[in-house]
Amino acid sequence: MPHIQLGAVDYAILITYFAFVLGIGWVLRRLVRNSEDFFIAGRSMPAWIAGLAFISANLGAQEVIGMAASGAKYGIMTSHFYWVGAMPAMVFVGLFMMPFYYGSRARSVPEYLKLRFDEKTRGLNAMTFAVMTIFSSGISMYALAKLLELVLGWSFHASIILTGIIVLVYIFLGGLRSAIYNEVLQFFLIVLGFLPLVLLGLKDVGGWHGLTAKLATVATNAGFEPGAWTHSWKYMDSPSHNPMGMEWFGLVMGLGFALSFGYWCTDFLVVQRAMAAGSMTAARRTPLIAAVPKMLMPVLVILPGMLAIGLHASRGGFLPIGSDGQPNYNLAIPMMLAHYLPSGLLGLGLTALMASFMSGMAGNVTAFNSVWTYDIYQSYIRPGQSDAHYLRVGHAATVFGIFASVLAAYSATRFNNILDMLQLVFSFVNGPLFATFLLGMFWKRTTGHGAFYGLLTGTITAALHYGLTLPRGAVPGIKGGFLGAVLHVYPSEMALNFWTALFAWTGCFVATLVISLFTKRTKSDEELRGLVHSLTPRIEEGYLPWYKRPVALAVLVLVVSTVLNVIFW
């Protein structure tokens, strides 16, 4: 595959972007006076800034490259990750969980677990989270460097070092505030950098109707009904009728409930942005404001994949063929950039791509900083030091976090399977978390032992379920069935993952409930004030105009996403 040649104008845009992200860090360095400034941005962010950072931190490598690839592979059904998955979960975290996250004054999600339950539950969550964020950030770096090597012919080492240093400098200087400001800038860049691509692609295929016609060929070639790539619900009656291999119940329960609530409601990477908001109302509005652009994101990340596969099918050779004989779906966006954008806009598009990787990486690094410093260092290694000491530790953790991500990125070049395996283990650990928070926040009887052993039970349930089932056509191993016996065969990998999440949630929920009933409460009602629903005073928001109330935004988000589901039914 020939490399894309960049001109002077493209480099001018890229360098201008670098200058701005570094400049923002430089200007904000003066606002970092204590550890709260560095780790939680002094709790001063307006809702719109926190909200856009909330979505931007999630808009990293996996999102942009992965969603376009899924758009090509599964068509408009990929939108379920947004309109069935993310929307209800984001509304739930804003309306029902933020009062306890923000109201508890916890500085991190593990710290909330410490306040609500006990030390061991916090420790378990903090350790697994710290390791996980480093690896996600490394995977993000690896993906970016591989892509730039393939598309531009840039050196893998140079890309890793360049992005690593830039992210390091701006977080080191300005802490979370700098990461959040840059995430907002990156958000606008991603939108305005990819939009021309989508508009040109749509014009080229003859609009939505032209695309539907081209995707009908893709669908019939793959042995499905012609509309399988352009209807999100119509073919969900049976797994054999749609390319995702899913039926509606597994999708709604597995993706819509277990997986999405687990991610959006408990992942500190995103929750940290809301914790940095300036007031309770701002914190509650953060995920709801984020939901509005998130709802429209399929246009930018899924549609390019659908356009690429449509053009690939009708004109041939649009996507390079991988070693397995299938088109390389991960290259959908870079190939679209190369195909449609002339020098100038090409630079803008590539800069947008780099911005998305950087925002995802910075999100991981800032979350790692806080958890490492507050929940591991301050709790277990050296408690009772001065604030200035912990600020220095935070700076050191930034350097360490980036350095460890670089190592993780290099380990991915040599042991690809190890990373797949780690991601699998993380999914077992994360799967059950939402059950713990749900019970912890809404049932004051939930005990520390219940939470801790419930989490372990959930993780084991997930591993057992995964180890005893297999997606169709796979051999036992990393894809499942590694425990020797295969009790059930799922129609697709995605179905297996959705059901694993649901099993993990159920295992944790039942175990936490039962163990809590048989163990003594260790926290009194007084200690749980502000942490549990029944012991927290209702938030009075009646003084706000209706359009500023979280409930109004939540209703708007749910109505519009329902309408979108109906339009693309």
Binding site: V9, A12, I13, T16, Y17, F20, G23, I24, V27, L28, R30, L31, S44, I49, Y181, V184, L185, F188, L192, P196, L200, K203, D204, H339, Y340, L341, P342, S343, G344, L345, L348
Partner: protein, 67 residues
């Protein structure tokens, strides 16, 4: 807070707008064959410039009226 985020965002997109618009006016029209014959640098440059100016204007107004 002594940095209104809208100022750097506005400044960056205004600069992008100027670069792209200027390049769009000066570049050879043959390079626009791939973008379906549309001078996308010129048009999108104008869009980015307008977006940048609007952001700058809002940021500047807030800056002039503190609190």
């Amino acid at each position: 807070m002594n940095l209104d985020l809208r100022l750097p965002i506005g400044a960056m997109f205004s600069i992008f707008g100027v670069i792209l618009t200027a390049y769009g006016m000066l570049s050879d029209s043959a390079i626009y064959e791939r973008s379906l014959g549309i001078n996308v640098n010129l048009w999108w440059g104008i869009v980015l410039f307008a977006f940048g100016i609007v952001m700058l204007a809002f940021g500047y107004r807030a800056y002039r009226r503190p609190g």
